[in-house]
């Protein structure tokens, strides 16, 4: 049986898979703010339900079923985010935590209806791809971290990490939103902080900020 708790485990596992498609139990415990012992417990249950591959002392993998379940959770989450942002008008930095609750309480029927109403969006308000009904992901535009851009390069915001509300709220305040154009004006080597132009305003941003904004470089056109 799928409970809120199990759904959270599957989501966390999915989002933290490494290059070998594995996660350490360790990581799951941290992300969910629970003890390692609790994770061991639950992994045995998820394994019995054919959702994860679990062997003592080894890293965790998802089964085929587990992958499908987790992707569907991502789908629910991102469709809710899109809906809350576009239709209800909830600001960028608040949609994540509302969607976090709603994703456990909505039938596939409802999600499909909402998706239809939104005209089958491909990306959520943070630029993350929304899995389709068949759980396939749309292609994403090539992008680089803002922190890796060079002086005088221009680009368009295509994705931001939604790891922290304060971060989202801050970048939103300085005019950084999806598709916003910006230009790198200075980079200070000693702390890698940047001076950027967003619209017609100048801002200083730390490396940590720039690490979480993804840009599609544009060569032509003015800012």
């Amino acid at each position: 049986m799928a409970t809120v708790s199990k759904e959270d485990y599957l989501s966390v596992i999915f989002k933290n898979l490494d290059d070998k498609n594995e996660v350490k139990a360790n990581v799951i415990a941290e992300k969910l703010s629970i003890s390692n012992a609790a994770v061991t417990d639950m992994l045995k249950k998820l394994s019995n339900e054919d959702l994860v591959i679990y062997e003592k002392y080894k890293s965790i993998k998802l089964t085929e079923n587990g992958f499908l379940y987790a992707k569907n959770m991502v789908r629910r989450h991102r469709i809710w985010e899109m809906f809350l942002h576009q239709v209800v008008g909830i600001p960028w930095d608040k949609v994540h935590e509302e969607a976090e609750k709603l994703e456990h309480s909505s039938s596939d029927y409802l999600i499909n209806k909402i998706e239809e109403m939104l005209n089958f969006p491909e990306f959520d308000p943070h630029g993350d791809p929304i899995p389709a009904k068949d759980l396939k992901l749309p292609k994403q535009k090539k992008s680089v971290k803002l922190s890796l851009m060079k002086i005088n390069q221009k680009g368009r915001v295509v994705r931001v990490n939604d790891f922290d509300n304060e971060f989202l709220s801050y970048i939103s305040k300085i005019g950084i939103e999806l598709n916003a154009k910006l230009k790198v004006k200075e980079i200070r080597e000693f702390d890698k902080s940047m001076h950027i132009l967003v619209g017609n305003k100048d801002w200083n941003i730390s490396q940590k900020i720039a690490d979480n904004i993804f840009i599609e470089i544009i060569d032509k056109g003015n800012l």
Copy 2:
């Protein structure tokens, strides 16, 4: 702490208060499909949290806090129903069970936003009043059960009970919706079934159906 389970208890208690503003533990158990022993257990907890007034072997009352909490649950439920029906286009007979899940997973902030977006509706898709932010109920139009109408009386549907999906789905199919006009053409005494005119079509409905539809009688005008 407010859990899904506690919220369900409070909702059921609120919806089943008698003329003395009391409910028997018995009734709660039936409505929630759980044992009486479980109800006793939970009532003690709710009492400790100052949500219900509980004394051994006596009927249950809500405290001031309990009333507020329960009314807010009703508010959440009905705003979700309205939203799902009007904005997402979910049919009449399906909104109830979706709202039943969503009502536990939405912040007051979100509910207020949705309410604003809907332009502060007073009644949900079944004609039930939606408590405002201050939890006050809008005034309802005077209405009578369809089953109590006389031959040749005309009226307008102002509310239906949403106790059963099949019922809602059926009456929707025969053209009965909020504000629909109808006229009683015949009443068969032996089973109290009725012959009614809805729009320009005739239908036979059982007493059980007619018991769950509420009508505002209209004297003038044609059908």
